[in-house]
């Protein structure tokens, strides 16, 4: 009996592992602290703030999708309700002059998210899989439509606004300037990241993974999958509420768009594109998607279409997301086999890029003809000027798409072969070692 317990217990982490682990968090803290010193413009500060909020929100979403295997189409409900409660809290606290400083307001949002997740989650988590996804969508629609009916609380289409500087000041911080808000969001981001990472290491976090992988077996062990899904749902709601409250503080307003389908869709996109298989995935996704949506919207009018197509491409070709793609190569790097696949990547990249450029050319030309047909055909999407009216552009785009597709298909078969060879070689090396 003692042997079994011994072999079942995980080995204690070595000192170097410990150092690596804590070093990572200390490095993250330092980066967050130093960032505004390097990029100090107002735009970059507000971008960082948005990214921080998005990181918390995406990580909270991954408690559902990545850890527990629940695909939710309505996670923004808890984000939005957290935001609304935070705004009302700021107004009430400011009005009564209660001694509550602004940095504690996100906690109120978190508790609001938790309470509503506890209320709505019991029914939602009764079922898993596709039914859960549909139920989350229905509940989200219910809350979003109710928000437009209950105008006193949700403020109708205009929303509810507040003044964040009217609260009790700690150490003379007014939280008026964006820099102070950045540090507030950065601190909460760090706290939430650590808390959510810790959650994955608890027995509950492990049982969540078990429910995701094999709910029937979980029942044999003596747990109720419904209860575990419910608890994961509550935690996700709590952290989503914190993110919503931070967003409300950042903009000093909460409106019904906070709870809407677009917000729910965006967090799903960010989490999945980043990669749901790893803890760091949603962080990468949040950074990537926030930068992408801010950057692309300046470059082209139809950025949402590119965004959607990119999402479809990730699902079809890289189901592990960006992080999954990188992590796939870890065993190859460890055994030094990466050199075998890199050349085939470079070869495959050329026709693939050609195809993508051809596709973009076609899209932009179509957009010119359908959206603004009366304007000058010399359009400049992505800062590259070309003539949308000339047949040369059309032919070029057709050649690029068709030719690129035909060649790319061949080169990607080559990549597959090179990948198989490299991973076989790396497996042999690992076995020999």
């Amino acid at each position: 009996m003692s042997e079994i317990t011994l072999s079942a217990a995980p080995p204690r982490p070595s000192i170097t592992d410990n150092l690596k682990f804590y070093g990572l968090w200390i490095a993250a803290t330092l980066v967050l602290a130093v960032l505004p010193k390097i990029f100090f413009s107002g735009t970059s500060l507000s971008t960082f703030s948005l990214i921080g909020i998005s990181i918390i929100f995406s990580l909270s979403y991954n408690i559902l999708l990545g850890q527990t295997g629940m695909l939710s189409f309505g996670h923004a409900v808890y984000y939005g309700l957290g935001g609304f409660l935070a705004i009302h809290a700021i107004n009430i606290i400011g009005f009564h002059k209660w001694p509550v400083p602004l940095p504690l307001i996100p906690l109120i949002g978190g508790v609001a998210g938790l309470v509503f997740a506890m209320l709505l989650g019991w029914v939602s988590t009764k079922r898993s899989g596709t039914a859960f996804a549909m139920i989350s969508l229905g509940v989200a629609e219910l809350v979003a439509s109710s928000a437009l009916i209950l105008r006193t609380f949700f403020g109708g289409e205009a929303g509810v606004s507040a003044n964040r500087t009217k609260l009790l000041r700690l150490f003379g911080l007014s939280f008026g300037p964006q820099l102070q808000i950045y540090y507030l969001i950065a601190a909460w981001t760090l706290i939430c990241m650590i808390a959510m990472y810790a959650l994955t290491r608890t027995p509950l976090g492990r049982m969540c993974n078990a429910v995701r992988d094999n709910p029937e077996r979980v029942q044999f062990v003596g747990y109720d999958p419904h209860i575990i899904r419910y608890m994961a749902f509550c935690f996700a709601g709590f952290f989503a509420g914190i993110a919503g409250a931070l967003s409300a503080i950042n903009f000093e307003i909460a409106n019904s768009a906070y709870l809407g389908a677009v917000q729910s869709g965006t967090v799903l996109f960010a989490t999945y594109i980043g990669g749901i298989g790893f803890f760091i995935g949603p962080v990468v996704g949040a950074i990537f998607v926030t930068l992408l949506s801010l950057g692309l919207s300046d470059l082209t009018t139809v950025w949402q279409l590119y965004f959607g197509l990119f999402f479809i491409a990730v699902i079809a070709f890289a189901p592990g997301g960006i992080t999954g793609l990188f992590m796939m190569h870890r065993p190859l790097i460890r055994t030094g086999q990466l050199g075998r696949v890199l050349p085939s990547y470079l070869i495959a990249l050329v026709p693939t890029l050609a195809m993508i450029i051809g596709l973009m050319l076609a899209i932009e030309t179509t957009v010119h003809y359908t959206v603004n047909p009366d304007e000058d055909p010399h359009i400049k999407p992505f800062g590259i000027p070309f003539d949308a009216a000339s047949p040369v552009t059309w032919i070029l785009s057709a050649v690029l798409v068709i030719g690129g597709f035909l060649i790319a298909r061949r080169t990607w078969t080559r990549v597959g072969q090179a990948w198989d060879e490299a991973s076989n070689a790396s497996r042999e090396k690992a076995l020999a070692a």
Binding site: V123, T130, M134, G138, E141, F311, I312
Partner: protein
């Protein structure tokens, strides 16, 4: 009062049958492929827009046939070249694929036809009142919609229950491997079912387009209600989807025509409520909460009968 009941029943059955045109395809696709097609209402929207464009070029009647065929071909291509490829990545990836597809289709429709509603009119040959009851003219086009959807319903029922193809489809629902062993091309059946299902949604789009608003957000508006229908009816159950479609169609139509509120009913008893924070709930009319009634029904059904009205499967 009687007038209201008769007209609302007609409209409710009509809306319910339209819902069922879509829900039937969605349910069969779900039972067979195991994936709930999030983009199903996008094909309904494509049907409406194709119908609008084709009826401009060739007239309404050709559009009624060409638009669904086109949308069905696109649907079949989506199954063959998209979903089948994603299948190996699991159900979540499949569902997300259709989600991304719905997003992309909405963007493409916006690029081609713009964000504002297009001018899709009832064809002149059907633009007259069919009959008059209680001084209300009931348009012939609505009767036409009702007849088309009931006609398709009957054809679908006979095909599924009485023909050889219907037998194979039913068998492939529960035992796809066995059907494959018997020498049928299961992949081909899947593609056909997906094509026919999306074509049915497109038929609903073409006939609903002139009566409702043809706009790029029509898929997003109807999508959640459609999913409520299939969940309330029980995922994978065709009779359940039929009952739920009619139930939700009638529920919404009746609610829209009612004007009562709590204040109207109990107002004289306690007039103070109108001035408190409860005033929103106190004063809201039944017509105003009509859009959220399906979702309330969903929550109620889930609380008391989690597998849906006629569902048998737990997950």
């Amino acid at each position: 009062m009687l007038e209201l009941i008769v007209i609302s029943t007609l409209n409710g059955v009509l809306f319910g049958m339209l819902l069922f045109l879509m829900a039937s395809g969605l349910t069969v696709i779900f039972s067979m492929l195991g994936v709930l097609n999030f983009a199903h209402t996008s094909f309904y929207m494509l049907g409406a827009f194709f119908g609008f464009q084709i009826s401009r070029w060739f007239g309404f009647w050709p559009a009624l046939f060409i638009a669904p065929v086109l949308a069905g071909l696109i649907g079949a291509a989506v199954e063959r070249y998209g979903l089948r490829h994603v299948h190996k990545n699991g159900h979540v990836a499949e569902l997300l694929f259709t989600f991304g597809l719905a997003f992309a289709i909405e963007e493409i429709v916006q690029i081609i036809w713009g964000k504002s509603p297009v001018d899709f009119r009832v064809p002149p040959s059907l633009d007259f009142p069919a009959f008059t009851i209680f001084s209300t003219n009931y348009p012939a086009y609505k009767m036409f919609m009702l007849l088309v959807s009931i006609g398709i319903f009957v054809v679908l029922l006979i095909t599924l229950k009485r023909t050889r193809i219907g037998m194979i489809v039913q068998a492939a629902l529960s035992h796809p491997h066995m059907v494959g062993h018997l020498g049928h091309n299961v992949g081909h059946i899947f593609m056909m079912v997906f094509g026919v299902g999306t074509a049915l949604a497109a038929v609903a789009g073409v006939i609903a387009g002139p009566a409702l608003v043809t706009q790029s957000n029509m898929a997003g508006l109807l999508g959640p209600i459609l999913f409520v229908v299939v969940v309330v009816g029980g995922l994978g159950s065709l009779p359940g989807a039929f009952i739920a479609s009619l139930l939700i169609g009638l529920l919404q139509t009746f609610a829209v025509s009612m004007n009562g509120s709590l204040a109207g009913m109990f107002g004289p008893l306690s007039p103070d409520y109108a001035s408190t924070w409860l005033s929103d709930i106190w004063n809201v009319t039944v017509a105003q909460i009509a859009p959220i009634l399906p979702y309330m029904l969903l929550v109620l059904i889930l609380a008391f009968r989690p597998m849906g009205l006629l569902g048998t499967r737990e997950s």
